[in-house]
Subunit: 317 residues, 2 copies
């Protein structure tokens, strides 16, 4: 059995999985990100013991632990080099975790871990796989020849920071016009609010009043109800997503491209127009086409991927 | 010894190289692309024999032949699936070449072959390498773990068709706003002509009159002479190039990124501002940085890369 830990800015999620990534038990606890990393790791260790017990095993039955962390992670040394939303800088989290458990412990960037999770549940192994999360930000992971692609320095596969529109919307990374600045839930919310203001009669304004907020679902739900401005909002957003995915496909031509993150719960409403757009604008006109899918694991992708990447790395030793 | 063939829309270039890619002899002949592929291959074969003779060896001393071809190339089967500027569709060029020589013969996309050529002359082997050509179009090649990255269908690494500006300039691929539509020599010429029109007093107009045409060098040469509009033209172009390279770096974080193609002959005038821009806007702020270089092989990259990729594939068999 393996343990996968999805260390987030808000919650720590821990899961015990079998050799195939099937979750036997899972638990979570608040991260309280302002704390020193040693305290966060102490809570992670406690959650591991608890979750193993819930799965009716002991920690001695665990072959390896994998941790997925946001930010820049040096997966060779197991150090979180920098993670703004965790208040961590050069935090040796695998070494710290090693004080609790005498077993192989590995760390990965969280988007890479999630990508590896979705990759493991594909029907067949493929030599080229891309995962894109449309969440608060836009994350990504690339699996080539059964390995997480990290670039030479571990910081690769930042698909959210490919350019979509030079000199366009401000991105959190300091540049303008990144894919993330157009395809994240944050960007969709900003677009939704702009369109609501332009059309006060739009159903989206009623939705916002009754829900007390605007979310990534506002435009999708009101579009489904037939509201014209909501349909326009949704379609502008989807075209931006599709445009970025064409760019990714032209670069990687992956056999499978999986879309995850909050927006992916829209299912076919997201998938169908994106597929049609990529089919039309993909540079490749003569060879087999990338298969585009919706994620299967959703929130569990981080846990499963961290566990399975740890398994893979244990086997490689 | 190996033979590398750079099959272009205008010329066929053939080179005999040693085990390290050093060219012992080379020759070229017009492609006459309107002909059936069988005639083109016949000329390629004749050039091989001639070039081997020039290198004082016979074809029996050649271990393998590599062909770099434009368009969509199925490198597994050795078929040029489609190449518009060669008038080829489903042309089995390695099988046809096999009628002349009884030895391993391989085909690659020409940009991939050139990338592999530049990769082989790097000071050291690296596990992540990207090559970008700024020529008539923008081509690219990616070498990961000593292998040409092709995607699952062989059509990958089309770096010229990453999005740079959604809804921007028309690209030859049918989409708008591709990197190629901003960073190619074609795009630079269009920008130059636009700026010349806006400022009839610019030195670039004199340059064009005295040379009888506008080229990718017009803006660079007039900028070097201090012409303000030429400097502006050059800098607008260089920023577009740099913006696309940031995008590539954010995705691949390659250890080495090499810029080739006609524009790369500008050397430091190109390299310095691009490096500064990437240094500033690269998403990676905490790990070692990609090293950006100018190509070393220029026009020989295709020959050397085709030969060395053929060598690599022979060894892998």
């Amino acid at each position: 059995m393996y343990i996968g830990i999805d260390l987030g800015g808000t919650n720590i999620a821990v899961g015990v999985t079998d050799e195939n990534g099937k979750i036997a038990a899972k638990n979570s606890a608040p991260t309280i990100a302002s704390r020193p990393y040693t305290e966060i790791v102490a809570d992670m260790a406690e959650l591991c013991v608890k979750t193993a017990a819930d799965a009716n095993i002991g920690m001695s039955d665990i072959k390896a632990v994998g941790i997925g962390s946001p930010g820049t992670v040096d997966s060779e040394s197991g150090v979180v080099v920098f993670a703004g939303n965790l208040n961590m800088e050069k935090a040796p989290i695998t070494a710290e975790m090693g004080k609790y458990f005498d077993m192989p412990i590995f760390a990965e960037n969280d988007a890479n871990a999630a990508a590896y999770g979705e990759y493991t549940v594909c029907a067949h192994k493929t030599d080229s796989f891309v995962f894109i999360t449309l969440g608060t930000g836009v994350g990504g992971g690339v699996i080539i020849n059964d390995k997480i692609y990290r670039g030479f320095n571990g910081a690769g596969a930042e698909i959210g920071h490919m350019t979509l529109k030079m000199d366009g919307e401000q991105c959190t990374c300091g540049r303008k016009g990144c894919f993330e600045a157009y395809a994240s839930v944050t960007a969709l919310r900003a677009l939704t609010m702009k369109k609501m203001k332009e059309d006060p009669s739009s159903l989206m304004n009623d939705w916002a009043r009754s829900h007390g907020h605007v979310s990534g679902r506002t435009a999708f739900e009101c579009a489904a109800a037939g509201d014209r401005t909501a349909i326009e909002t949704r379609d502008v957003y989807l075209r931006r997503v599709a445009e970025g995915i064409v760019s990714v496909v032209n670069v990687f031509q992956p056999e499978i491209l999986v879309i995850g993150g909050g927006i992916s719960r829209e299912g076919d409403v997201l998938l169908k127009p994106v597929k049609e757009y990529v089919e039309k604008y993909d540079f490749n006109k003569f060879m087999p086409k990338t298969e585009i899918r919706i994620a299967k694991l959703f929130n569990d992708a981080g846990i499963v991927g961290a566990a399975m990447a740890a398994k893979k790395r244990t086997e490689a030793v």
